[in-house]
């Protein structure tokens, strides 16, 4: 297993249906954003439901709100949108070994959200081994059935890119778990699973291929 670390000045993950006026950011990227990043790295559409597993951890230094001027498509008209964003963002991806080549030389730009949220590959670590134990989870989404408390929201797992416009392929309700800040939050978000002892955080490996 490899662990890829991405870093970006800003990141923003729109709630799927809140796009008028104010766009709050999700605390962590939805799976479909991970699909986008993997696809950009490889240079072709990647489907999470075809990967043996994928895990990710996201954290940032804080949040802010940006005012964004947009040019309405197909019209001579502009609008001002308020967009919430994460500042100083880090994303760790846990992937099968073959992904090393794609992140060593990503085919397209890697983005943590919108086109302005440009990311760089800061590190690719090989031979990552995860311990199996009670571990605090966070900075990721987990299935509701796991029984960990957090914000519940419906999210697209992956899109089908064989058509224009793209289409959702799989949608599920998730627990959106922010990266735990306090000892108390860590304790509440602890469950049996995998643990990255180097980062001190649990890793939930999604296996949508089943």
């Amino acid at each position: 297993m490899i662990r890829v670390k991405l870093r970006a000045w800003t990141a923003s993950f729109r709630f799927p249906t809140f796009q008028s006026g104010y766009q709050p950011t999700l605390p962590v990227p939805p799976p479909s954003t991970i699909q986008g990043i993997l696809s950009a790295a490889k240079g072709e559409p990647v489907y999470l439901t075809q990967l043996p597993y994928v895990g990710y951890i996201f954290k940032s230094s804080g949040k802010g709100v940006d005012l964004e001027k947009i040019y309405a498509l197909g019209k001579v008209e502009t609008d001002i949108m308020k967009r919430e964003f994460h500042y100083n963002a880090e994303l760790y991806l846990y992937l099968p070994d073959e992904w090393k080549q794609y992140f060593k030389r990503p085919r397209y730009q890697l983005l943590l959200g919108r086109s302005s949220d440009l990311a760089i590959v800061e590190e690719i670590k090989e031979n990552i081994s995860l311990d199996e134990k009670e571990a605090p989870l966070g900075g990721t989404v987990v299935p509701i059935e796991l029984g960990v408390p957090g914000m519940v929201h419906a999210l697209v797992v992956e899109y089908d890119y064989s058509t224009v416009p793209r289409r959702a392929k799989l949608v599920k309700p998730f627990v959106v778990l922010p990266y735990p800040k306090t000892a108390a939050e860590k304790r509440r978000q602890t469950t049996r699973g995998f643990y990255d002892s180097e980062l001190g955080i649990g890793v939930y490996l999604h296996r949508w291929s089943r």
């Binding site: 297993m1 729109r14 799927p16 249906t17 809140f18 796009q19 008028s20 006026g21 104010y22 709050p24 605390p27 043996p52 597993y53 947009i70 309405a72 498509l73 197909g74 019209k75 609008d79 081994s129 995860l130 311990d131 199996e132 134990k133 299935p143 509701i144 796991l146 029984g147 408390p149 957090g150 519940v152 929201h153 419906a154 697209v156 899109y159 224009v164 416009p165 959702a168 392929k169 799989l170 949608v171 599920k172 309700p173 998730f174 627990v175 922010p178 800040k181 306090t182 000892a183 108390a184 939050e185 860590k186 304790r187 509440r188 049996r192 699973g193 995998f194 490996l205 296996r207 089943r210």
Partner: protein, 490 residues
């Protein structure tokens, strides 16, 4: 500890553990047979709450066709009225709605029958297998007609298609999810914006929105949440009430997110307020074991200026003013100082509530808390033997310790007191001393100042009466005689 390196073993483990987990938890999100399911989206889940509450049912699969028709009748009758149509639905939630006929141009044709027809036709809308799947429930095909913010709050308009994939066609939402969104006005709370309390487990969401339905039944108007002006104040108030009913165990994995929004032609705003699980459980615990204490804590947090302005109408304060206790709880700050009334040298709540707060919200471990309590009890055992004026002065040294060295010298003075009073054994060992001064500094919430507050809490709890008596006598006598200088430049 088992280390996993090979993918095969990893797969095996995952399959096994996930199956076990799915079996052991309730599967209320995985039922696919019923007409409606919980989706995880706050707006459609709210619509489902309306259906359930008005039908007296608890689970989506219990809903019958008849139930749904009854609710549609009820909703259509209300929605046809001006107070609902232009005054609420068009003004705050679904501007120009065609389905609910809130579009001002439809005023003449608007009747309960016409709205009912629109709503039921959504449920009977044929699915087109060539359409993409719904991005909310993932179960059905999206409707062919594009969905914009006049039918589903905040999804954007055709006017600015920038955020729809490839810039066209609106959101991919199925007719059933769209139907549920049309039921949302029934359970929503109408403050200066619209409030939806999205809770998991979903049973909790029913609890939180029951009041809205009760209000509608009484007044035939949308609930104004008892005229609260601030969504978080209303939430905490309700949580305190609901908390007394719920056992802490039931809230073990509960979460609440407030969606506070407005969606009309002038503006679209959205605030997402997440209530962390430790906070939920703490408030519920407070409501059950020490309601009076919790009330006192909250009462110290009201914004001073606002509370002063409303001093002639004190019942308005909890509805309109911001509260530091609430905002600290929501932002992860410490509310420990609010457990203590420094001015009157007394405690606002029981040690039991304090202890729950420290361990469950601040994350201080129980063993550390017991250790600090033990030290506090030994301090009490010492200083209670001092004459009133000296006792008061000694505790004042602790109260005024703003720097670590001042905190240190307090212990040294108490140690001297012990020797002078001939109390056997030291107040604490060197190791304890080091621990209390330095061990709790890692987390911003748990520094030596936390320890200081905990010590004072225990001392006030035990010695309040004597301290108050002494400080009354002391006021004139010792005005000019401070033991050490206060503060610094910091």
């Amino acid at each position: 500890m088992r280390t996993i390196r090979k993918e095969k073993r990893l797969d095996k483990f995952l399959t096994k553990s996930e199956e076990q987990k799915t079996q052991s938890k309730d599967t209320d999100t995985t039922t696919t047979s019923s007409l409606f399911t919980w989706t995880g989206h706050p707006f459609t889940d709210a619509g489902l709450v309306a259906l359930l509450l008005l039908s007296g049912k608890k689970k989506p699969e219990e809903l019958s066709k008849e139930d749904i028709e009854n609710v549609v009748n009820f909703a259509s009758r209300l929605y046809a009225r001006k107070e609902w149509s232009s005054g609420y639905i068009h003004a705050m939630m679904l501007p120009n709605s065609g389905i609910l006929m809130a579009n001002p141009s439809m005023a003449k044709k608007r009747t309960p029958e016409a709205i009912k027809k629109n709503l039921l036709s959504l449920l009977n809308e044929k699915e087109d297998p060539r359409a993409p799947i719904c991005e909310i429930c993932g179960r059905r095909h999206a409707r062919i007609k594009p969905v914009y913010r006049s039918d589903f709050p905040l999804v954007g308009t055709g006017g600015v298609p920038n955020y729809f994939p490839s810039g066209k066609d609106g959101a991919n939402i199925c007719s059933h999810c769209l139907f549920l969104a049309q039921m949302m006005p029934l359970v929503a709370y109408r403050l200066s914006r619209v409030l939806i309390i999205h809770a998991y487990p979903y049973q909790l969401m029913l609890e939180f929105h029951k009041e809205a339905i009760e209000d509608i039944k009484k007044s035939e108007l949308a609930s104004t949440a008892r005229d609260f002006k601030r969504p978080e104040n209303f939430l905490f108030e309700k949580l305190t009430e609901i908390g007394t009913k719920f056992e802490i165990g039931k809230l073990e994995n509960a979460s609440i997110t407030l969606y506070y929004f407005v969606n009309n032609n002038q503006s679209q705003e959205m605030e997402v307020i997440y209530i962390p699980n430790p906070v939920l459980r703490f408030v519920a615990f407070a409501a059950r074991v020490d309601r009076a204490g919790w009330k006192k804590i909250v009462s110290m947090g009201w914004n001073k200026g606002c509370a002063k302005r409303l001093s002639k109408k004190p019942e308005e304060i909890p509805k309109s003013c911001s509260n530091d206790v609430y905002s600290k709880l929501l932002s992860g700050g410490s509310i420990l100082p609010y457990f203590i009334d420094f001015q009157n040298r007394k405690v606002n709540a029981s040690w039991r509530l304090l202890s729950f707060y420290c361990s469950e919200v601040l994350g201080l471990d129980r063993e550390a808390l017991e250790f600090i309590k033990g030290i506090a009890d030994r301090i009490v055992e010492t200083v209670e033997k001092l004459p009133d004026n000296k006792l008061s002065r000694r505790i004042r040294e602790l109260e005024r310790a703003e720097k670590l060295y001042q905190f240190e010298s307090f212990f040294i003075r108490v140690e001297k007191d012990r020797q002078e009073l001939g109390i056997p054994e030291a107040l604490m060992s060197f190791d304890d001393f080091a621990r209390i001064l330095t061990s709790y500094g890692e987390d911003l919430n748990v520094s030596w100042k936390t320890v200081k507050n905990l010590l004072l809490f225990r001392i006030y709890e035990k010695l309040h009466d004597r301290l108050m008596k002494a400080s009354a006598e002391e006021v004139e006598a010792e005005e000019n005689e401070e033991e050490f200088e206060e503060g610094g430049e910091e």
